[in-house]
């Protein structure tokens, strides 16, 4: 009995409090520091400089990294044997990229290593070879892999942007370019308006609207062959084509007697089915990643709002509940979030929303932002903005909200469409 008492009293002296919890809900604003060491090469390779420069340009494109100047580097390793973490720790570098280039008459081989200075370990060992003339593609692939090993996000340096260029009245063209605006190609030019470019899921075709026949018609152009087809409807005004992610159909809008409604065109059966039949305006369809639902803009409840229609039973429900104007919505690749244009009192912002939540997150601050397009890794949005009445393309990363602008073109640039991942 005495012993029991002693033990009981002894145990009572122990505290049973909860541990101190400290919450950290935001991170540093500082950029991660990377160093791209001059590659070792068998000949004094001019390509070394080009490769290193291009990789540097790509990795610093979206304002996520700060790259170390050559003049500050303490050593120039090219393989793991002559790589010393301390040389980079001293400079507070987070990641180092180094390696070797082997050059022959027509081809290049690049062996590269990405090292994490904080964890003191190698993140990636890569080996890529190709023809010298494909140097840009080689660089894009290296940049993608380096980016992936550092951020965990799939790289988008090899993806493309499609957009409408309007340098002067009666002069329109559909163009595609790299993400940084380089390597612009014109796909089609016309004296009549062109609109709404949309990529096929395999990246081989582009659908768009052209007024060359005198009314709005949808064309599907094969990027390789240049062959153009249309969706067969008898002279009806058609617009806003969007390719389903499963490649089976194209949803679009037919304006019958001035009343736009949603339709779906099955690419295999060539049959068109009607999705909505409301006296209001139904337009701007956008597919969910599983191809089962479409978001669209409708004014059926008084002002432009975003609705969702399930393809299986044609059931419609309203998605946006706040604000006087919501339109031009797109699903994120995760299928859980959407991006759209949110308007209030004449000011338009790009906003995102988790479909399970009510509140919206404003992404951009400039006033006349339109046509948001999402990168295939769901991390960046490119949209068209206006400066002095001229349209230009701007982009923003969704985590840091770091902004960038694509090179200004002569004339207005509109309606950007981000390609899917390309091979």
């Amino acid at each position: 009995m005495k012993r029991f008492l002693i033990i009981a009293i002894f145990l009572m002296t122990f505290n049973s409090e909860a541990r101190l919890k400290i919450e950290i809900a935001k991170g540093t604003e500082q950029l991660q520091k990377i160093a791209i060491v001059p590659f070792n090469s068998n000949i004094n390779s001019q390509f070394e400089y080009q490769v290193r420069n291009l990789i540097n340009e790509k990795l610093t494109l979206f304002g996520e990294f700060e790259s170390l100047d050559l003049s500050q580097m303490l050593s120039f390793p090219f393989n793991e044997a002559n790589f010393f973490v301390r040389d980079w720790e001293l400079l507070s570098i987070d990641y180092v990229i180094f390696g070797e280039i082997t050059e022959t008459d027509e081809s290049l081989e690049i062996n590269y290593v990405v090292s994490d200075i904080n964890l003191k370990r190698i993140m990636l060992r890569g080996d890529i070879s190709g023809l010298k003339k494909d140097i840009e593609l080689i660089v894009k692939k290296i940049s993608d892999r380096v980016y992936e090993s550092i951020t965990g996000l799939k790289g988008i340096f090899n993806t493309k942007l499609a957009y409408i260029l309007n340098p002067e009245p009666d002069n329109y063209s559909i163009c595609i370019s790299d993400i940084d605006g380089n390597n612009e190609e014109v796909l089609f030019s016309s004296n009549s308006p062109l609109m709404s470019p949309d990529w096929s899921p395999d990246g081989k075709k582009l659908a768009y609207v052209s007024f060359e026949k005198g009314f709005a018609e949808i064309y599907i152009q094969n990027l390789l062959t240049g062959v153009r087809e249309t969706i067969p409807t008898l002279g009806m005004s058609k617009s806003a084509p969007v390719w389903s992610p499963d490649s089976k159909s194209i949803a679009f809008v037919i304006s019958m007697s001035g009343n736009p409604d949603l339709y779906n065109y099955n690419l295999k059966t060539k049959k068109i089915s009607r999705l909505t039949s409301h006296y209001g305006i139904d337009t701007e369809p956008a597919w969910s990643p599983d191809s089962k639902k479409l978001l669209f803009t409708s004014n059926r409840s008084g002002s432009p709002q975003i609705f969702e229609i399930k393809l299986s039973n044609k059931r419609i429900k309203r998605v946006t509940l706040e604000g006087s104007y919501n339109s031009r919505s797109r699903f994120f690749p995760d299928g859980r979030n959407i991006v759209f244009v949110h308007g209030n009192n004449g000011v338009f912002h790009i906003a995102t929303r988790n479909l399970k939540e009510r509140f919206i997150n404003i992404v951009t601050e400039t006033k006349l932002d339109e046509s948001p397009t999402i990168s295939p890794n769901g991390h960046i949005i490119i949209y068209s903005a206006k400066k002095d009445d001229q349209g230009y393309l701007a982009g923003i990363t969704l985590d840091r909200k770091s902004k960038f602008e694509l090179p200004v073109k002569i004339g207005s640039v509109r309606e950007p469409a981000w390609s899917p991942f390309l091979n």
């Binding site: 005495k2 002693i6 009293i9 002894f10 009572m12 002296t13 505290n15 409090e17 909860a18 541990r19 101190l20 919890k21 400290i22 919450e23 950290i24 809900a25 935001k26 991170g27 540093t28 500082q30 991660q32 987070d94 904080n118 964890l119 951020t151 965990g152 996000l153 994120f332 995760d334 859980r336 979030n337 995102t352 929303r353 988790n354 939540e357 997150n361 769901g378 991390h379 990363t397 969704l398 985590d399």
Partner: protein, 196 residues
């Protein structure tokens, strides 16, 4: 006879010992005014002015009452310096409480800021995820161990938090606290990294 006496005496000693153990833990007896308490050799000499004239049980748990939720904010909350009461012991007690609270909250804010400045937060869109990392500290502030106790489900997110914690070796803000406060609250800290 003798056994009985020894037995009684030892039992009496044992009970006194237990009583002393309990009282030492809860500090029922207060030392006199102007006592000095050293923490660790060669580091800090801390003067603790105890202004209490009589014991009061409510003081024992003054820090325990602090809700952890109060300390989520990053701002340092200024102590309330407006002491209206004319009773000296109550006023003195309040200012000592405030002093303790402020030091406690200041230490937490500073620790929070240290991790915010070093954490490279990975991209998570409109989602609530969190990872918990348990650290143990020495009274000097040195981080003795780091352990992931609750994953967020996102490997990159967990890794980024572990990286941030690995980059820091010292939390010198705890060296400012009393030994008592340190042992009770800061010996083990649960760092919760949240996506939003």
């Amino acid at each position: 006879m003798i056994n009985l006496q020894i037995g009684f005496f030892l039992s009496f000693l044992g009970h006194i010992l237990i009583l002393l153990m309990i009282t030492a833990d809860f500090s029922i007896f207060y030392p006199k005014k102007n006592t000095y308490e050293t923490i660790s050799v060669g580091f800090i000499l801390e003067k603790q002015e105890e202004l209490f004239l009589k014991k009061s049980s409510e003081n024992l748990f003054s820090l325990k009452e602090l809700e952890v939720s109060e300390l989520k904010s990053e701002e340092i909350i200024e102590p309330n310096n407006n002491i209206v009461s004319s009773d000296l012991s109550i006023a003195a007690k309040k200012s000592l409480d405030d002093l303790k609270k402020q030091k406690y909250k200041t230490a937490i804010s500073k620790i929070q800021k240290k991790f915010i400045d070093i954490w490279i937060k990975p991209f998570v869109l409109n989602e609530d995820i969190q990872v918990s990392i348990l650290i143990t500290l020495a009274p000097s502030g040195e981080i003795l161990s780091r352990n992931l106790i609750e994953s967020s489900g996102n490997k990159k997110f967990d890794e980024s938090a572990m990286k941030a914690v690995s980059k820091i070796n010292f939390l010198q803000d705890v060296s400012d606290l009393s030994r008592y406060d340190f042992e009770k609250y800061f010996r083990e800290i649960d760092l919760v990294f949240k996506s939003r």
